[in-house]
Amino acid sequence: MTFTFDGQPIAAEPGQSVAAALWAAGIRSWRRTRHGDEPRGLFCGIGICFDCLVVVNGVRGQRACLVEVHDGDVVEQP
């Protein structure tokens, strides 16, 4: 199955989280911080740290490590 990240098509396996699928595609960060403009991606991997926030199908503030990715999902940087 395939989803898009900022318009770029990415392959994923059923059951994978958005973060895992991005990571498998070699993408290590998908947002920049408000103050320092630093890249952030996965850190705790279990929904605690909120570093991996991402926009999924227009819904903001989703934790990429918890949200299961589905075919055709549109994922964007916040």
């Binding site: 396996e13 059923p14 059951g15 994978q16 989280s17 973060a19 895992a20 699928a21 990571w23 498998a24 290590r28 960060s29 911080t33 408000r34 103050h35 320092g36 630093e38 890249p39 952030r40 991606g41 996965l42 850190f43 705790c44 991997g45 279990i46 929904g47 605690i48 740290c49 909120f50 570093d51 926030l53 490590c65 299961e68």
Partner: protein, 425 residues
């Protein structure tokens, strides 16, 4: 709406053991869990690939998935009400088995993408089938490092080393259970087969890279070494998730590893009548201890008689857990901070700002938090809380207290939730 006799919060080793022990007879038991699948952080797995240890703990208890409890309160007459996005659960008695997450310590470069917790590396591999990196360092403190490093090496990662901060002195002093020794030996054999060095008394003191991790600096007894890696999995033990217990008014204390934990009696009763606690939230001790505590809490909560053997076993395993805390001691980490090292990742608060708050007169964690915003971001101090508590105490020239840690565990809303859910309940 069903009123349960026992509601167990958390579907990990402690919670599942509690539910299994409470079920039977005519007790109505529910497991309320944040995740879509049971197992907690100890048994992360892909859909349909349940580890055998997990299904052995399956019981007839009702399972409410995708239900993080964001608020717990006493019900109007007796019992408790647990608010979740999947609805309100009402029960006469509650077993809290909310587990723990990796404990992180700030160091220069720890916010670089590619630096993750050991638990994240494990979850990526076990729950999603993804390797955290090609050249990976595993670091921090605790027996969990061995298990994860062995898993990564087996899955094909080039593990450049396991860097354990503890000197592991005193292992010989403690009589280790033979099952634990065998488990450790198994991991050691895997690491040896893949030629992964295991270095005691070594700590990762910096991560380097511009927009992504490229290398780490490892400090040993007398020298520092730079190693190229594309991933670093690093954690110093675990932080128990005690928010719900604190919200319900349960007594807490600081455990041997510096964690805030729920105080329980011989039957895993907390200081609040009808509330029991089991597993990591009563003291980090691993899955075996969690299951024993869960079994005791479950039987007590369901008003069932307990065999004394389980209590004896718990005492034995708990002694071992306490010994592990001494052996895998967290090193002092404050000296390694630079002025610009972020302490709070969410609010991007550097060490210099935390120090300034204390220079301005903040003597407790709450004041530090209000002055510099450390711990006020999305994660609400779940990641930086223990570090800020230790920093506050250190810079004020005293040891950390219960109150230092409790300042971050005190959250009326225990889980991130939507305004819609808040308004609806």
């Amino acid at each position: 709406m069903i009123r349960y006799d026992v509601a167990v919060v958390g579907g990990g080793p402690a919670g599942l053991a509690a539910a299994a022990a409470a079920t039977g007879g005519d007790a109505r038991v529910v497991v309320v869990d944040a995740a879509p699948r049971l197992g907690g952080q100890f048994w992360p797995h892909r859909s349909g690939a349940e580890p055998p240890a997990l299904w052995r703990l399956r019981s007839a208890a009702y399972h409410l998935p995708d239900a993080p409890v964001w608020f717990a309160e006493p019900a109007p007459t007796t019992g408790f009400r647990l608010h979740t996005p999947a609805g309100i659960v009402t029960a006469d008695r509650v077993v809290l088995a909310t587990g723990a997450h990796d404990r992180s310590v700030p160091f220069p470069g720890w916010t670089l993408p590619g630096v993750v917790t050991v638990g994240a590396a494990q979850a990526l591999l076990k729950a999603h089938g993804v390797l955290v990196g090609r050249r990976v360092a595993v670091a921090g403190a605790g027996p969990f490092l061995l298990a994860v490093a062995a898993g990564l090496a087996t899955a094909g990662a080039d593990v450049v080393g396991v860097f354990e901060a503890g000197h592991l002195r005193g292992y010989a002093k403690h009589r280790l259970p033979s099952a634990k020794l065998a488990e450790g030996a198994r991991y050691a054999a895997v690491l040896a087969r893949h030629r992964v060095p295991y270095r005691r008394g070594h700590a990762v003191i910096a991560a380097h890279g511009t927009d992504v991790l490229e290398a780490i600096t490892v400090a040993g007894r007398s020298r520092e070494r730079r190693i190229d890696v594309d991933a670093l999995a690093i954690s110093y033990g675990f932080t128990p998730q005690v928010e719900l217990a604190v919200a319900l008014g349960c007594g807490t204390h600081v455990d041997r590893d510096g964690s805030l934990v729920v105080t329980v009696d011989a039957d895993q009763r907390t200081s609040v009548s009808g509330v029991y606690a089991a597993g990591e939230i009563t003291g980090v001790g691993g899955a075996d201890l969690a299951q024993l505590e869960g079994r005791i809490a479950g039987r007590a909560a369901a008003m069932k008689v307990l065999d004394p053997g389980t209590r004896r076993q718990r005492a034995k395993v708990r002694r071992f857990a306490q010994a592990m805390h001494d052996v895998h001691r967290r090193p002092s980490w404050i000296e390694q901070l630079g002025d610009d090292t972020l302490v709070c990742r969410c609010e991007e608060v550097p060490y210099a700002e935390v120090r300034k708050a204390i220079e301005l007169g903040a003597t407790d964690t709450r004041a530090v938090k209000l002055l510099c915003r450390a711990g006020m971001g999305w994660c609400q101090g779940r990641i930086c809380g223990p570090a800020v508590a230790e920093l506050t105490a250190h810079l004020n020239g005293r040891p950390p207290t219960r109150d230092d840690h409790a300042a971050f565990a005190n959250r009326a809303i225990a889980q991130p939730t939507t305004l819609g859910d808040l308004a609806g309940q």
